[in-house]
């Protein structure tokens, strides 16, 4: 399952979601805005604290990176 760790009002986060929508790829949104504990999930998954983080199988993609998303989708 593809997961997008994001906050609601973050532009790059919404761009990742829109891009996956445009490709008709299903994904789960993990909203991490409210609690610091939730934010620690981002840290555990990606080793850093910026969102968005997208996980596609073993790929962990930080920010909106079309090329990396395409590559990960092609391999999945």
């Amino acid at each position: 399952m593809i997961k997008v760790y994001s906050v609601e009002w973050c532009g790059p986060c919404n761009k990742v979601k829109k891009y996956l929508d445009s490709k008709n790829v299903p994904y789960e949104v993990v909203t991490v805005a409210d609690a610091k504990e939730d934010r620690d999930i981002v840290l555990q998954v990606s080793g850093q604290r910026s969102v968005p983080v997208t996980t596609i199988n073993e790929h962990v993609i930080i920010g909106f990176d079309k090329e990396e998303i395409d590559k990960a989708l092609a391999e999945s």
């Binding site: 906050v7 009002w9 934010r39 981002v42 850093q48 604290r49 910026s50 079309k66």
Partner: protein, 307 residues
């Protein structure tokens, strides 16, 4: 072979300048395509609140960006944020823009690519990027709830983001290398009225350090040259912007600072190519000045196309 598409107007960049140009151009009946490889709304979308755009005493950055985008689309402009530009050739007699999917031949081009936040000029910037070095308060501020953090910079963006971050963090320190701010008096007043913001005038950020994540910053007094360390978990950089003009450096004249010089009609040195917004060489870079530029560029492009 990519399909060739002939269109009236190509607008590169969907910030306030590009979206305003799109509204005017589409309403004038021009077939208008806006390409954006980053975020629709540009820097506006990354701002928590905006208090100096007429008609809105206070509006969230993403709301204003949504409104501009909706208006441009309703007017008839097409916006594509996933087809990235690969090559650009701009000449008086022909404009070619090659994207991942198409080869566009627009009659006129408006460059409204805007500017990116400048990276903090510290040795460990890359090492701690996302690990205590950040540039987007609304995206990453929540990670530092109840922590001590710093904002570096002296303009409106620094002041406004400090106020936003003060709602999350235990304490926000503004590191300011001069003894004054460039931002508006009202924005400074809001900072001064926020109890958990401390302003450190005449201090400059030297570097950040920590084991895996930032846990302190080294700062230097610009007057006395005293150096000291302060404990904090993150620094948010708002030290200005740099223009996004790399794509065009072979095609049009740029200033030594890489901005695009234009005349008051937003014309560049190439006929039918205009520049608008923060990417243009000018003194003031505000949302209001960007939308003014976008208006003029679109009206001039219309005149050029229909002449």
């Amino acid at each position: 072979m990519k399909p060739i598409k002939e269109i009236d107007l190509m607008i590169i960049g969907a910030g306030p300048a590009g979206l305003t140009a799109a509204i005017y151009a589409a309403r004038a009946g021009l077939q208008t395509l806006v390409l954006e490889n980053n975020i629709i709304g540009g820097q506006v979308r990354l701002s928590y609140t905006i208090e100096n755009y007429p008609g809105f005493e206070e509006i969230k950055g993403n709301e204003l960006a949504d409104k501009m985008e909706e208006q441009a689309v309703k007017a008839g402009a097409q916006i594509d944020e996933f087809d990235f530009i690969e090559k650009v050739s701009l000449k008086d007699h022909e404009k070619l823009i090659e994207t991942g999917d198409c080869l566009y031949k627009p009659q006129a081009v408006i460059i409204a690519t805007g500017a990116n936040p400048k990276k903090l000029p510290i040795p460990s910037e890359q090492k701690y990027l996302g690990k205590g070095v950040h540039y987007c308060g609304v995206c990453d501020g929540a990670s530092y709830k109840d922590e001590v953090i710093a904002v570096v910079g002296g303009g409106n963006a620094a002041l406004e983001e400090a106020v936003f971050l003060s709602k999350l963090a235990k304490k926000v320190i503004i590191i300011r290398r001069h003894n004054y701010f460039k931002g508006e008096a009202k924005a400074l007043e809001a900072v001064e009225n926020t109890p958990n913001i401390e302003i450190m005038y005449n201090w400059d950020l030297v570097d950040v350090q920590g084991e895996k994540f930032v846990d302190s910053a080294r700062i230097k007094n610009t007057q006395t040259h005293e150096v000291k360390e302060i404990a904090l978990k993150a620094v948010f950089g708002y030290i200005g912007t740099e223009p996004k003009t790399d794509l065009f450096k072979e095609s049009i004249h740029l200033t030594p600072s890489k901005y695009i010089p234009t005349n008051e009609k937003m014309e560049t040195n190439i006929k039918g190519v205009y520049a608008a917004g923060d990417v243009r060489e000018k003194e003031f870079r505000q949302i209001t000045t960007a939308v003014a530029d976008g208006t003029i560029a679109a009206l001039q492009a219309e005149k050029y196309i229909t002449k």
